[in-house]
Symmetry: C2
Subunit: 417 residues, 2 copies
């Protein structure tokens, strides 16, 4: 790469990664079926489509009385509406009664609304007269305190999108629609090749001049943390044929290869030469404007990405995060939108006002949107009884106990699920 | 709890958690030995003490020539120092030569310094005259470009502290000192009891009025994500004896218990009653000023923490993060300092100026310190060849390619390891 004056310029880390991603293109790991309980952290390879409505029937969201909303219109504390009691509704049972003219059925949270009822009056707004009659002291609107059939998940609509890393609530949503197996991308297998005439296995006492292997352990654990499967292939001497054979052998069963070691110029050049000689296309970068990690090497050989990592531990850690982790995410099918890739906490601008009552801490679910001017948090204000709101959300932010709400444009810290 | 006017006041989430933590006290999961390759994410239960110096000998950090620093004093490009070449040093071998008056040995990065040498001149500052003599064009100070014996890890000093969640570089550091087994706290076992007359197993077609189990799947995956071992105990009817027996049975082999369901007042009260009846001490809170999650129940029974989670999916998720996750961290021995507990990215104030060269992206290792005025990032400016700097660091922050450094007091985003 040339700079403005035509001199060779070392690539930035971003340019180097971009080149890698471009050459890897649409290569992905294999798609397999897995039990949803094993799917945590894996990437969804095919959208999961709901085969049924959730819930399949109208449910109450409160403890109260199922009614026809119109029978409560105009009710007040001083001028209550009188309703006769019909059969009580029990949890998990088909509602047997029917609500018609001035009738009400006692109903628990989650209970099924009886035929004819279109709303639920909360216990708090009812005065019980006897076991046959209640007074309603506040009107309800049609649909109030009710989850409609299919309101959470609608038959035929996607429960889970392709490219999404599967989170706990996604597994819950699958279970809720009766989906116990999902298609995921296999975890990428990363072979780790340690090189260096001075390196001995960690369990062997080093002679003077030798040191124990540390990097292959660090890299293996980083691969595991990134959702891959590490395979430590052993320690190889700084010898062209030995390392080349190890690399070619690893190409047979690896989605990516990390070669550790090669701190000295001679070894670094040897690893670069091997990658170049195997080719197709071979070396993509050799050295980046990065500290630590300047001598990093990246390449692709017949579709398999390979990394020559500097021997210094701090450089290994930085190069892993900058190059290997995003490549593993690409290979395992992760969608590139920030909310899918990022973990932890992101700061985003709030897209609308969200009111809250002082005196309680409110956790608001939000989607993260990437706009031209940065990340925005779009609150999802659905009922907390819907699993869908959790699946749509990328995370939550908190309105502290002493505030009345947060305003559009304010910065909030969204803890990503 | 009473407010200023003597009225009963609902606890805040913070107060409720504080009470839980206080009653749990110093209860922890059992301590077991594990292979370091299985230890990722577990919590160190005993400090790991280095049994040897790393490195055991002085090593070069560059490719160059091992010299006595004093022989290079005053050398410049126009007035170079002349040194005679002694035996070359090879990687992984005991340095055979001796450096004395005006002698130098060619040495690779990581090579062992020969007797008599105390510094290394980089290739870039040397002109080779022939195979017997070099010109040194820049002086080196004693110790320059050298890692001293024990400079990375010193025999008798701790490699890993008790209470630290074990990260990839911690595993690397253990390997580097020959420690292949570590003592860790066992992952806490969390039993999940689903209740609700309307709940059927996720794999069974629900009758009208019933719904499939979702929450036990969500909770199990959250337990797994938090480093625990979930055990789904099954679905129990809303019946005092059935749920009490399930809870008592779970107490035998669980470090914590989560009871899901109980959205209706009757069931919530039943779960609270069971916890109270088992006692010692029983219920700690029943309802918190939290949205969603207001009806959350927390208690401890003979040392085992138990949670009654509201049935609404969003409330389950919030209650898990606020109550169960910190309790699992406590039980599994995690130290309470923020850098150990937090994940992802934290914003902290920089404790000192850090210079950087424009034109390269610099990743700086930093410790997180909690001071009265918030979190501070303390840069660790050691050599990148030391694994210790990675073990001491809590994370890294980036100085972008177009900046000359960052100043004391600036806010930096530290990506925690």
């Amino acid at each position: 790469m040339k700079d403005m004056l035509g001199r060779d310029r070392v690539m930035t880390a971003g340019e180097a990664l971009g080149l890698l991603m471009k050459i890897i293109g649409d290569r992905r790991t294999a798609i397999v079926s897995t039990d949803i309980q094993q799917a945590l952290g894996m990437v969804c390879a095919e959208p999961v489509i709901a085969a049924e409505d959730v819930p399949a029937f109208a449910r109450s969201t409160v403890d109260g009385y199922a009614v026809r909303a119109e029978d409560t219109f105009g009710a007040t504390e001083s001028m209550p509406g009188y309703l006769n009691l019909s059969a009580e509704i029990f949890m998990g049972e088909r509602a047997s009664g029917t609500v018609a003219d001035d009738l009400a059925c006692k109903i628990p949270t989650g209970g099924m609304l009886p035929v004819g009822a279109d709303a639920v009056v909360m216990f708090e707004h009812v005065q019980v007269i006897d076991n046959k009659m209640i007074e309603v002291m506040k009107p309800v609107a049609p649909g109030e305190n009710v989850i409609q059939p299919g309101e959470d998940i609608r038959r035929g609509e996607p429960v889970l999108m392709k490219g999404r890393r599967i989170r706990p609530q996604d597994i819950g949503a699958c279970a809720g629609t009766g989906v116990l197996e999902v298609k995921v991308f296999e975890r990428p297998v990363v072979s780790i090749i340690s090189t260096g005439d001075e390196i001995v296995p960690a369990g062997r006492k080093p002679d003077i001049g030798q040191i124990r292997d540390t990097n292959s352990y660090t890299i293996a654990a980083m691969v595991q943390e990134a959702g891959g499967v590490p395979v430590r292939k052993g320690i190889f001497r700084d010898d062209y044929a030995a390392i080349r054979d190890a690399v070619q052998d690893a190409m047979k069963d690896s989605d990516a290869i990390a070669v550790s070691g090669g701190t000295s110029v001679g070894t670094k050049d040897m690893i670069a030469r091997i990658i170049g000689d195997i080719g197709n296309p071979g070396i993509l970068f050799h050295g980046v404007s990065l500290k630590p990690g300047k001598p990093a090497i990246g390449g692709v050989m017949n579709g398999v990405p390979i990394f020559g990592l500097p021997g210094h531990p701090a450089a290994v850690s930085v190069c892993f995060d900058i190059f290997i982790k995003p490549v593993l995410e690409l290979l395992s099918g992760l969608d590139s939108r920030p909310a899918y890739r990022l973990r932890g906490v992101v700061r985003a601008r709030l897209s609308r006002n969200v009111p809250s009552s002082q005196g309680r801490e409110e956790h608001v679910r939000a989607m993260i949107e990437e706009r031209e001017d940065g990340l925005w948090a779009v609150p999802i204000l659905g009922k907390s009884g819907l699993i869908r709101t959790l699946v749509e959300a990328d995370g939550t932010f908190v309105i502290p106990v002493n505030r009345n709400g947060v305003e559009k444009g304010e910065l909030v810290d969204v803890r990503l699920f």
